[in-house]
Symmetry: C2
Subunit: 330 residues, 2 copies
DNA sequence: CTGAAAGCGCTAACAA
DNA sequence: TTGTTAGCGCTTTCAG
């Protein structure tokens, strides 16, 4: 059933029906008639047709690298909370860390499919930049900082710095690092830089073989820890760029009966839900993921209302949560 | 830019452009012209306008109770994998366990917004049923079994039964239960029934005060364990309806220096990623969440191709993973 | 294989 | 306030 059939059924004009669903510039009498006919027929207007005319889809595109990650789902939770309250729905694209999917979804979102985009990015290439510059709708980048765009990001460098500093302040002398792909500026590069700064500040140097790059998984953390502890000289603290990596590393340490924190301290980033139930509870830098989602969504809403020429970068701070894995006397 | 402007720019007719993006019943010459103009102008057709005519949105509605849950995100991962490969996008509604949001999103999806719906349901009311029966597009229910609908679900009863049986076979005599809201048939009722069956089969009875209903969180598991262990007579095994509940319970046990598995065995459901890194690794019934998503998506695709009158229920089996928390000699 | 033209279902400008 | 009507941008006959 379409609007004119329905209008006939309700005994009103087409525009009365349209007004009923929009501004409501309508007499009570007709409102009533329409309401009754609605009950009878179960008619619902077509969103697509509406979108053609009004150029509003009430849809927000969200691009994310994976779904089953605690940090990402927390961000998405925040986004969904704010946007849902404003009557927007989320069009989710899970790129599965596939670069091409990322590009194609940016393409997709140019096709008048959504009113705005939130992009949980990890790595930017030139193609990303070129595509982003062509977007005719507001885009907010969450989790990374990209010059010339509106971003919500974390203080990754600071979080890594403080976490590492904590371990060094407890007397560690042979720090090791299990990080992420440095092309990922936030989780890879910045956290590496924070680690380096703390080490340098403590007047120490890092043995290059004490630096490993892992994937974002427990399995990878396990493997890298195995390598780190295969040398005669062992690290006495390990900074891990994510809690998943840290948990995997700790799994290996337990298998090898290497004691945490007595033999080696471990620090992570993210403050995952499981941290406090690990066999030794994990110290971690809490990042405000959900808040990042909330703020990103708010920023997008404000951009959609009136797009500003000034780009804003919102950096959220961190909080060091000390738990068992660094519980040593200095 | 719209199709006719673009057609003029490309020096072809409007229908040639339309055909280019659809069936491609077109001469090479014009294809080439269009391709070039595409490069020049960056034109993209409007999805909404296309949807009005063709009645196809290439969008699938996914209704879920929350995002930040490992089980749910695994299901969604599976859905996204299958549907993404077929060129569908996901329109995600996070109901945040809010009954009204669930209803309103079903309403929303009736409005020609999506081509099909996957509903990760927890509790069904009459209103749900009435709304579901009015849907004019295929709906697949994942995680629950609802008569008269196409469903993909787990053998929740069996999983709970086997997990409980495992603990009883190791000599436990005072079983306890921390479950979920029984209105949630799968996670609440069925898992409770499985627990009961195993207990009965072992010739035991459960003290009613040894049965608690928790929320789906560690915090809640912690609280319920506290109550369970507040009596003089303590349980010697606890079946938890989810791993999160189990992890929370174990947190309490550790605080109280109650030993797992020596003093009490713990069994969970879901085989969460963190299970093996807990301070005592957690035995759990693995449920095939991602597979459920994959199968649900496939079922939806087949329903969208040609809707069948016969409703199918696909029940996925489970797998008991024995770990430290039940590692006792019988 | 092609282009003109008639819609798809809705919104919004317009005249009443 | 109302109803009529001309589009929105695209697809899809239909006649060539």
């Amino acid at each position: 059933m379409n609007i004119s059939e329905f209008a006939r059924e309700a005994g009103v004009s087409v525009s009365a029906v349209s007004r009923y669903f929009n501004n409501g510039y309508l007499s009570e009498d007709k409102k009533q008639k329409i309401k009754e006919a609605l009950e009878r027929t179960g008619y619902t207007p077509s969103y697509s047709a509406r979108a053609v005319r009004s150029k509003v889809t009430k849809l927000i595109g969200v691009i994310l690298p994976k779904l089953s990650s605690e940090s990402i789902s927390r961000v998405t939770e925040g986004i969904s909370q704010v946007l849902g309250a404003e009557g927007f729905e989320l069009l989710l694209v899970n790129t599965a860390n596939d670069y091409n999917r990322e590009i194609s979804s940016l393409e997709l979102f140019r096709q008048n499919r959504v009113d705005g985009v939130i992009f949980l990015a990890s790595v930017f290439t030139d193609l990303h930049r070129s595509l982003l510059s062509k977007m005719r709708i507001p885009v907010i980048i969450v989790g990374q900082e990209l010059k010339g765009y509106n971003c919500v990001c974390h203080n990754d460098e600071g979080a890594a710095y403080s976490m590492t500093k904590l371990m060094l302040s407890k007397g560690a002398k042979r720090p090791a690092f299990i990080g992420a792909n440095p092309d990922d500026k936030a989780a890879g590069m910045d956290r590496r830089n924070g680690f380096d700064r703390a080490v340098k500040e403590a007047g120490l140097t890092v043995d290059p073989k004490f630096c490993e790059i892992a994937k974002f998984s427990m399995e990878s953390g396990y493997e890298k820890a195995k390598r780190l502890f295969s040398y005669k000289q062992k690290p006495d603290c390990v900074f891990c760029a994510t809690d998943n990596i840290a948990a995997g590393a700790m799994l290996y340490l337990r298998e090898q009966s290497i004691r945490v924190p007595e033999d080696v301290m471990i620090g992570g980033v993210g403050d995952s839900r499981f941290d406090k139930v690990l066999y030794v509870s994990l110290s971690s830098a809490h990042l405000h993921y959900k808040t990042a989602g909330i703020e990103g969504a708010k920023m997008l809403l404000s951009e959609m209302k009136n797009s500003s020429e000034v780009h804003r970068i919102l950096q959220l701070e961190y909080e060091i949560i000390e738990r068992g894995s660094t519980d040593r006397q200095p």
